[in-house]
């Protein structure tokens, strides 16, 4: 019962934790302003999609994406589309890749990077940002990927451990 509740609880905590960390950004390094965008929730949801249950991950993605859209962005349909899509792709890829922690981590970070690029293209299209792609790459994408990679390297095993516990418990109850 406890572990069952723990999985959505962690998702909620990560959702609340993201904007608090975002307050530290942007960081000025030398001459450059570097944006670090925390993407912890979607990384966690990708892990759920790969190790646990694709359908559930897509549903969580839809729910949190909608919250994100309404609370922060005021454009409904952006994250509430991208989050489930990413979870779907992650769940679908399970058939083709080996579920080793390192591979999952790299895959998750790559998916987040592609989401960042899609978001950049969208905001560029509707004239929200005058940033060129080169600037985006240097000031946002690479630092963001680095930061999230560090986060996942630290906590990825914990996610996996937790989700595996839940899977085992489920199998146990089912048997």
């Amino acid at each position: 019962m406890f572990i069952r509740l723990l999985i959505p609880t962690i998702a909620v905590l990560l959702f609340l934790f993201e904007p608090l960390l975002a307050m530290f950004s942007p960081i000025v390094i030398g001459e450059q302003i570097v944006f670090l965008v925390p993407r912890f929730l979607i990384l966690y949801l990708i892990f759920i999609a790969i190790y646990y249950n694709r359908k559930r991950a897509v549903l969580y993605g839809l729910f949190f994406g909608l919250l994100y859209d309404v609370f922060y962005i005021d454009i409904i349909g952006l994250y509430s589309f991208l989050y489930p899509l990413l979870c779907f792709i992650a769940g679908w890829s399970v058939k083709y890749i080996h579920q080793h922690l390192v591979i999952t981590t790299v895959l998750a970070v790559m998916l987040v990077a592609s989401m960042e690029i899609a978001l950049y293209e969208f905001f560029f299209l509707i004239n929200f940002t005058p940033m060129t792609f080169q600037m985006f790459l240097n000031n946002r994408l690479i630092p963001t990927i680095m930061a999230n990679l560090i986060f996942l390297a630290m906590l990825g095993w914990a996610f996996k451990y937790l989700i595996n516990k839940r899977v085992l418990q489920r199998a146990h109850n089912g048997a």
Partner: protein, 302 residues
């Protein structure tokens, strides 16, 4: 590739159309939250403010330690300024009472400068940072309205762009939004020079003050404050300091680069300024997102 049946393709197409329609709809009126949106915002805002408390506590400890380490240096610097301060204080007191007397003399009590401060705490910052937005823990019920000025002790940081009953959204000064305007003036010369803060230079990290009358001489180092002529902001909130003056693209007006005085990196507590004098809609107000250079047909009142 996964196998798609006809039904799946139809669902996919319909949802794509729905998605595009939804994005289009929410883009067109972004700053007026509908009722379900308000409910979601207030609920998430409540959870967020609970989560922000321990974090605020930890960063508080951190900044306390930092402050403690700088105490000696700071003390030295402050002592030297203290003497000037006493002189300044008595001068300000004198000016204040004189100002009051003069106001009574001409029967004018209201001033554009007067405002009621509403203290608010920052509970979140837009994590994806495509727009420079922060969210405060005070809303309509506390008297906050759209377009009010938001500042810290050091100066102006932004203005309110959306309110729900218990939260409000602030767009920061260094936004990339081209339609974000604040009516400002340059102080310190013989005469105050009026202009408008329009836009932000990302490379220089400075604000741009445009529409300055070219017959006036703007000096580097002068202070820029809000003018109060925009309609909603009170007068005299510090914005920053002029760092460079050039001519605008077409050579008709001057523009100046302004270095903002407020520190935007760790905003925790801010003050929302509720102007005492009646607010009217001007360039700070709802006119903000109107295309001023090519205005649509307006009803004419004669």
């Amino acid at each position: 590739m996964p196998h798609f049946s006809n039904k799946k393709i139809i669902v996919l197409l319909v949802s794509t159309v729905f998605l595009v329609a939804l994005i289009g709809f929410s883009l067109s009126n972004r700053h007026n939250a509908t009722l379900p949106e308000q409910i979601i915002k207030d609920t998430v805002g409540f959870a967020q403010s609970v989560a922000a408390k321990p974090t605020g506590y930890i960063t508080g400890i951190y900044s306390n330690i930092e402050a403690l380490l700088n105490t000696y240096e700071e003390n030295k610097r402050l002592k030297s300024r203290l003497e000037n301060f006493v002189v300044l204080q008595s001068e300000v007191d004198g000016l204040k009472s004189e100002n009051k007397k003069l106001r009574e003399l001409i029967d004018k009590e209201d001033s554009l400068r007067d405002f009621q401060p509403i203290h608010a705490t920052v509970i979140a910052r837009n994590p994806d940072q495509w727009e420079e937005k922060i969210i405060l823990n005070k809303g309509q019920v506390h008297g906050i309205e759209k377009n009010m000025a938001v500042m810290t002790a050091q100066g102006l940081v932004g203005k309110i762009i959306a309110v729900t009953p218990f939260t409000s959204e602030v767009e920061l000064l260094y936004t990339k939004n081209a339609n974000y305007r604040i009516s400002a003036l340059v102080q310190g010369g013989k005469k105050d020079i009026v202009g408008a803060i329009e836009g932000y230079d990302g490379e220089r990290n400075e604000l741009i003050l445009k529409r300055i009358n070219p017959s006036f001489e703007v000096e580097v180092g002068k202070q820029v404050v809000s003018s109060g002529l925009g309609g909603i902001f009170p007068k005299g909130i510090l914005i920053g300091e002029v760092t460079e003056v050039t001519t605008e693209d077409f050579g008709l007006t001057k523009m100046a680069y302004v270095k903002p005085s407020a520190d935007f990196s760790m905003l925790e507590n801010v003050i929302v300024a509720k102007r005492d004098m009646t607010a009217i809609d001007g360039s700070d107000g709802d006119g903000t997102n109107v295309n001023l250079t090519d205005p649509p047909e307006e009803e004419e009142e004669e």
